[in-house]
Symmetry: C2
Subunit: 766 residues, 2 copies
Amino acid sequence: NNYQLIWSNVPFFTVPLARAHGKSFAHRSELRQAKRIVVKLGSAVVTRGDECGLALGRLASIVEQVAVLQNQCREMMIVTSGAVAFGKQRLRHEILLSQSVRQALHSGQNQLKDMSLPVLEARACAAAGQSGLMALYEAMFTQYSTCTAQILVTNLDFHDDQKRRNLNSTLHELLRMNIVPIINTNDAVVPPPEPNSDLQGVNVISIKDNDSLAARLAVEMRADLLIALSDVEGLYDSPPGSDDAKLLDTFYPGDQHSITYGTKSRVGIGGMEAKVKAALWALQGGTSVVIANGTHPKVTGHVITDIVEGKKVGTFFSEVKPAGPTVEQQTEMARSAGRTLASLESEQRSDIICTLADLLTERKDEILSANKKDMEHAVSTGRLSPAMLKRLSLSSSKLNSLSIGLRQIAVSSQDSVGRVLRRTRVANKLELEQITVPIGVLLVIFESRPDCLPQVSALAIASGNALLLKGGKEAANTNRILHELAQEALSIHGVNDAIQLVSTREEVEDLCRLEKMIDLIIPRGSSQLVRDIQRAAKSIPVLGHSEGICHVYVDHEASVDKAIKIIRDSKCDYPAACNAMETLLVHRDLLRTPLFDQIIDMMRTEHVKIHAGPKFASYLTFSPSEVKSLRTEYGDLECCIEVVDSMLEAVDHIHKYGSSHTDVIVTENEDTAEQFLQQLDSACVFWNASSRFADGYRFGLGAEVGISTARIHARGPVGLEGLLTTKWVLRGEGHTAADFSEQGSMTYLHENLPVAQVLPGRRTTS
Amino acid sequence: NNYQLIWSNVPFFTVPLARAHGKSFAHRSELRQAKRIVVKLGSAVVTRGDECGLALGRLASIVEQVAVLQNQCREMMIVTSGAVAFGKQRLRHEILLSQSVRQALHSGQNQLKDMSLPVLEARACAAAGQSGLMALYEAMFTQYSTCTAQILVTNLDFHDDQKRRNLNSTLHELLRMNIVPIINTNDAVVPPPEPNSDLQGVNVISIKDNDSLAARLAVEMRADLLIALSDVEGLYDSPPGSDDAKLLDTFYPGDQHSITYGTKSRVGIGGMEAKVKAALWALQGGTSVVIANGTHPKVTGHVITDIVEGKKVGTFFSEVKPAGPTVEQQTEMARSAGRTLASLESEQRSDIICTLADLLTERKDEILSANKKDMEHAVSTGRLSPAMLKRLSLSSSKLNSLSIGLRQIAVSSQDSVGRVLRRTRVANKLELEQITVPIGVLLVIFESRPDCLPQVSALAIASGNALLLKGGKEAANTNRILHELAQEALSIHGVNDAIQLVSTREEVEDLCRLEKMIDLIIPRGSSQLVRDIQRAAKSIPVLGHSEGICHVYVDHEASVDKAIKIIRDSKCDYPAACNAMETLLVHRDLLRTPLFDQIIDMMRTEHVKIHAGPKFASYLTFSPSEVKSLRTEYGDLECCIEVVDSMLEAVDHIHKYGSSHTDVIVTENEDTAEQFLQQLDSACVFWNASSRFADGYRFGLGAEVGISTARIHARGPVGLEGLLTTKWVLRGEGHTAADFSEQGSMTYLHENLPVAQVLPGRRTTS
């Protein structure tokens, strides 16, 4: 009836109340489906550090997230602490005031700085704070057009069937009307807390902790998910802070014996053991649970929505233990096996690669049938573009050339690991070597192309690196069989685990956060993928480039033929490539010459859309559309033309607007060319050659890891060397630094010893 | 009187109301002294994106920051927008409700999703929202024991002298009582807005914008600082979004002609030009102004306190234009001159370094007298420890050996830039070279030691890099003269600007944020400095190491003499060094042998405090204190001893608890040693030699840039090579990629051509 609707102040947009699940979710990725969610805010989340006021910013952010989820037609409930803190603040104020009045009346003073505050009783604080806390929640939720309702319960209420039924139906009615119930313990009436008796027998709820209340409520309401926020990151396998403590991403009830709890937190009753007990209790009742930190300033803004989106925040409680290892375990297995791989003989690593090459052709039926499945699925869902479908598909001939490529890697990589780069006789019988070693654990993230998998695997094997592979969902079947073959090849020297295929359920963003576990990330895919990963991977280096704004500068002493050929090839050979030309710089003297007309004609014939730079536009009577930005990467049959007065102005232009990828000069004047090559600060600088040559294969580096526009580590097209670093090996006979001090007996020789010169990349003509 | 005190609900902690300044501040670093601060919250800051509700999280954070500053005895005032949005939300709700009742009465329906909302009048919204907004502010500030007062004004009030006086005295009284006045325009009564007439004549205040109100109020109240928060980052020199737009860190009234304003923002009246006008007006009145973005999610949490701490947020308005260039201009000058430096002949760079070496001895009187000033100041303030004083002091002999060191750098760096690392004949007449080039712009941050300046300068010059130097305040005079000498040396080839000394006022944290301007940061100082910088420099690589947990493993086949010598040297030679031993691993079989007793005796003699690892402790009847963590870097005459069962267990232990810096095995068994050297994954691995050899000078690398524990770029002690990267130079005759396609006429040769082998680091015995 309408009276009730108006009375309850409900917005009238009701949503269907069908629950998605009746039992807990097996994996985080399923949490998106959670319909009914209980968010429990521990007192540490709601109160400030000094426990004498509310953490308003956190509360506001939590309210916002709950409102957002509510707007996604989820049923949200909040179990909150905080009334005590709110009340403390209020009572303290009141006491100060009344004291001050008293003091003022008695003494006439009003300097009350030293006035002592009486100890406040928690129950009184709770009572005094309850109304204010609710008013605040209501004011905040009103900002999101969301209504709230206040529910005060004690744990005892769950033991009286009548009360339980009433509570249950009240909550259901509220949810039905799209109201967010805000539940708190009725602290003013509960008996004093008895630690450790929670959830075991008589059951009382402590004032400071309401984990068990939230768990009970979640199960009673058949909630899909309970998010328990407090000031701990989650569940650790050993007491947090100890050397080996690891945050558990997922916890299974069966693993309980593997946990060592630390001494309880200062709160006492809210210790981790009690939290886990409550969580397991909820889990058993069919509600998934995530325990997470709601006070961490960096994540607070999104902690609730992140959890619902399946991101790796806190510890997820799951009843279903997946068969395979976690990605963290995979990384450790890979690192360990990778170390063995690196210690193999060079020939043994080549063996593995050749075996993989053999397997690709021997087992091609299996591969192609798996690939067929992926193709059929992709076609049936219709989600992939024709270009992407083409990249997804494998064929006999693709596998053959892949196999040939692997053999080349096997040959070209002979001495990559353990090569001596430098030898120094530091002193008599003290010799130093700098040798190449693998970087460690690589994470390669690739989109649709499954042929990437064996290629990257071969590069990792050749360089002795451990490898985590994260492929696209669309190629799941193909990737699985290809990975099996890679492991089969690795098994001939017992290092199967060095290459791991990461489950398609893992989020790329989560992987990018595995710092200290992964040493280098290599994204292979669109520039958008690279950009996303560079953004996500804050403390792990990323090898790649997100931009390719390449220039061709045509000097006034350019050869007509070469200019036309190079411009056409740079722009039209493969316009989507990162090494395609985006801006054509033309010397001013060329403007009224036949060469210029020929360039324009060629572009017209090739259907290249021209945008005019501001200076170029000013020279023309009728100009094509002016560029929006001289920093545009068109990636298509489009380009910008700009006029410069000299080679030096071209260099300045490129420094200002380029991306330091690849830039070309076309001229017949050798001096001009050499100046350009010397002065231009890009990874690749070319004279009279197409920008399209910026490519590891074309450079003769053999297999290409990627192109880097970074200034440190590797720059330009990167071959195997990009996967190597060095270590220093010193061999002495008890030498000490003190031996070389003024009082010591030894002197430094620092004699450079010859090293065997290996011509880099012994690859022969293909 | 007490009545008033109680009525105004004031906490009784009043503070002295002396203003620190009567005129605007010249530099951001002075803003810490700001006593009276007006914080202006534009409507974009207070409202959510949809303008139909408040951005609660932002507001809460702003309230918290204002409360924090208030607690620092500052006088805070808030000029707020937002009543309209708050009121809109309320009125919308009311209208929905009344409509629904009407509709329900008339039609019996209650599906009101499509119900249209009437357009709400802004003044009505403002009136309806004012009370709620104030209640919210009050509730929030109460959480921080801070009282608020509501002031509604119109711009006209400033023109009536009586009103102005009243307003002024009211505000002063509030500030005196430590109350935060919250000022808003009395929107319900102001005339309709007239764009562009603000601050020019008739003066009205628009509903959406209160920049001019805030400026007026700040001047009227003689505030020290006005922080104007809106949704723009600050003032740009050209319309934001255009190719060249640069955010101005500091704006001087005289520079106004250099600004191009863009088309006004959608708000119209709140456009940048109006903001700047208001800011300049306030500045003229003696109030400093910062315009900043209060909506940026990452900075909101600290934007106000960061500004008051002098950090580079938004645009600071200053009347006093400093003589020198800004740090951004310095960086650009350095990059440009650095490019010229890199294009010089190798001999010319050596010339510069030798000239600097000469100047250090020729002008030593000037240097020493500047150093004396610094020393005297340091002694008089008593802030430096004796060790730091020693590092700060220069002497004739220090300058001499510095000069000798520079000459060595000049010699050893001969071919560092432009060295050909690889040559490939890609195809007929298409030749590829990979050559060394400088990294670009380096930022070196160093503490007290001024001798660092010429050393680092020489390294930068030798490698053709531009250099920004940021030294400590304590060495300001010495650094200034040393930098002048460096510039004098650079001037012989006209590249004075390649090395810049950054003002001591600049915050390190701000410098670490100059991404895209600085290519590599090299901190030289304590490991705390390195850690701080690694944390601050998120998108600029940092060359350095923050931890050195080095191990010495004594095998059961170790020589007694070597073991004792190496352990003593590794731990005691210089315990604070990063390459000093922190953990001694001992093979189990040694436990009851004389060698072990000798080790313990030696440690006792050397006063090394021993901590026992858990396994070691379990072997002992009476154990020394157990270690807290096996990952401890003591940096003092302390170390951990742990027992391992085998060399492999030692390797595992080091992998688990080490920092991949330097680790040593002591054994006479060559097989064991080689396995250790091969398997251990640290930057430096030593056999029978002290860990103290991990050092660029001792390795014979000549000048040392630092020690890196990173896995990419450079690892271990880094010499000049750490300051170099490479570029690829391709020379063709009009070659295109299409020439090599299946239809093309050319084939790849990929023939490796010999390069002149330069023995790395031709340094001879010193």
